[in-house]
């Protein structure tokens, strides 16, 4: 009964570097979400997957952000050419069915610091 796990927990990148953040959702969970949490703020929605299909990417702040979930389980959030404003905690969440009614279970997050 492992929960949602994320790796790495901490990532320091130099401006301009590419980074990849991994999320392992709870086994069998259909829905997967990525949120961005800036310092002192609440999480903000980035993107949503239902199985392997990315149904909503309206929250991705720029085309430097890309997410995938090729086999409907593990997901990767990639940020290209990182900028200082990308510094935040990136949270992954999964839910058994369609969220809203179903609880979203959150991982511990990856804290990204861009120097």
């Amino acid at each position: 009964g492992a929960g949602v796990s994320q790796s790495p927990r901490y990532k320091v990148a130099k401006r301009g570097q590419d980074v990849a953040l991994r999320c392992d959702p709870i086994s069998g969970h259909v829905s997967l979400f990525w949120y961005q949490q800036a310092l002192g703020q609440g999480p903000e929605f980035l993107t949503y997957f239902q199985n392997e299909a990315q149904l909503d990417k309206s929250g991705l702040p720029s085309d430097r952000f890309f997410a995938e979930r090729p086999e409907g389980s593990v997901s990767t959030l990639k940020i290209q050419r990182t900028q200082q404003e990308d510094s935040a905690v990136y949270l992954c969440a999964s839910s058994l069915g369609l969220a809203g009614i179903n609880e979203q279970f959150f991982g511990p997050g990856t804290r990204l610091t861009v120097l």
Partner: protein, 113 residues
């Protein structure tokens, strides 16, 4: 768009005292409302949720919240807090998408002896 406002950024309280964390939402349609807690260096954990039915919702760790449609509020309460309740608390509402959540900015609860 559906959104929430958490009126207090920080709430200091003494141990064993009651506490209320305020949340107001804006929506013209029916909503689902949630309270999450975030302990340091951990992910968010669901405390309770309102989907429909009884307006008084009971959650984990002795917390409860009351959905008030006329005041568009969903305040979180606990009659007697513990040191271990020190954490960040987030109110959230389902977005127009029906799946993503819109979170407030959070309220930092600090419980001292």
């Amino acid at each position: 768009a559906q959104s929430v406002t958490q009126l207090d950024s920080q709430v200091p309280v003494f141990e064993e005292a009651p506490v209320e964390l305020r949340c107001n939402y804006s929506s013209s349609v029916s909503v689902y409302l949630f309270w999450y807690v975030q302990y340091p260096n951990q992910g968010l954990q669901l405390l309770l949720k309102y989907l429909s039915g009884s307006t008084l919702v009971k959650g984990i760790n002795g917390f409860e919240a009351e959905f008030n449609k006329s005041q568009t509020s969903f305040h979180l309460r606990k009659p007697s807090v513990h040191i271990s309740d020190t954490a960040e608390y987030f109110c959230a509402v389902d977005s127009n998408s029906g799946y993503a959540l819109n979170f407030g900015k959070g309220t930092s609860l600090l419980v001292t002896p």
